[in-house]
Symmetry: C2
């Protein structure tokens, strides 16, 4: 039987690196897909390219889709400040990028259909996150239904399956899995800002560093 293909959305951060490494470990032919979407900085794209090499991906594409054209987020509009005072429960922070996951998954499904890929693997995580509406299981279930109707193969029950292995994991579990998979954690980039070093105070740095401390790997912290 020929090796099955998986498309992996690879942001350059810890979560998508871990999800991608799980697909590689499962023996699939993995094609990485990253996005130059007009984000604040390109550090995560550099990290994604390094990770694609480290994980020995079959191919790696970087696709441009300039969501900064209309902004609406501190990650795509330099006039907005990235929050650094910690997560406020129940409030969607301005780091939420309108429609970003919907766009990225759609482009991933396009590549998946063109290559008859069995799976599209996503690093989406609904636990230790910042309250984004498009990181929740009901969102992903609805996307799977859409994907099934969007293509001929999907209508026949043989379309691409969205696979979000980390969706219900804590960030600590993700860190532990990343360590087991020998992901070079210090080469992944999670910080929302694009300074020389991770800022340590944006939501993404805070969640990541707390998990690293709890895993006993404070040495990998970004501050």
């Amino acid at each position: 039987m020929s090796t099955k293909t998986t498309i992996a959305l690879l942001s350059g951060g810890l979560d998508s690196a871990t999800a991608t490494a799980l697909a590689v470990e499962a023996g699939q032919k993995v094609i990485g897909l990253s996005f130059d979407y007009g984000q604040r900085h390109k550090k995560e794209l550099t990290a994604a390219q390094e990770l694609a090499k480290h994980l020995n991906l079959f191919e790696h594409h970087v696709i441009g889709v300039n969501l900064a054209t209309w902004g609406g987020s501190s990650l795509t509009d330099l006039q907005q400040q990235v929050p650094d005072k910690g997560i406020q429960n129940g409030i969607i922070p301005n780091t939420y990028v309108p429609g970003r996951n919907t766009v990225f998954i759609a482009i991933g499904l396009s590549l998946a259909e063109a290559r008859s890929a069995e799976k599209l693997v996503l690093g989406i995580n609904a636990m230790d996150y910042s309250g984004y509406p498009d990181c929740r299981p009901d969102y992903l279930h609805a996307y799977q239904k859409l994907a099934n109707l969007a293509s001929k193969n999907g209508r026949e029950g043989a379309g691409t399956r969205l696979w979000a292995p980390l969706i219900n994991w804590s960030k600590l579990q993700i860190v532990q899995e990343a360590l087991r998979l020998k992901i070079p954690i210090n080469r992944t980039w999670s910080c929302y800002k694009g300074e020389e070093q991770p800022c340590g105070v944006c939501d993404s740095c805070r969640i990541r560093n707390e998990a690293l401390i709890n895993s006993g790997r404070e040495d990998l912290c970004s501050y």
Copy 2:
């Protein structure tokens, strides 16, 4: 009450021009959105820009997203021939672009959310079409459910509504409505090929020309 915003996906073809004109006629503030997706030719983008001016749209964006990176369609892969022998029932022709509508609607929803748009208007039509799986009502219903879950406003019942006014119209009805709306039909571009004149024999030209003849406007035919 302030004027409500509608995002209109404008391909440069007849259907999306008609749908967009209906949104303009409804008195909404209409923002046009077109895609440079690595298509065979740029004639439709030139037409989209002309139509945006003709319809006096509030803004018009052209966003690049290069689906030709992986091809999988005669519209994004010049090695594949555009079929010219007529529509074959039950067979999805190679002009189908994997994931295209899913990607375009996703990007439209991103713009819609950034601008708090009430509607996203689509020229999608399920009747006189070439059998694409992503032009059917069940696909659009599934996309509406996804859109409702993708954003905070959507979860609160105030998200963007997908509006496909032509979905159940025949091409003849679309032509008649386009004539009523005074759309410069001969400035829209539907031909799959990008030659100096429309080819007259691809599926898109055939469907369009048949409707124009039936409407008594053979003079507007493209051959």
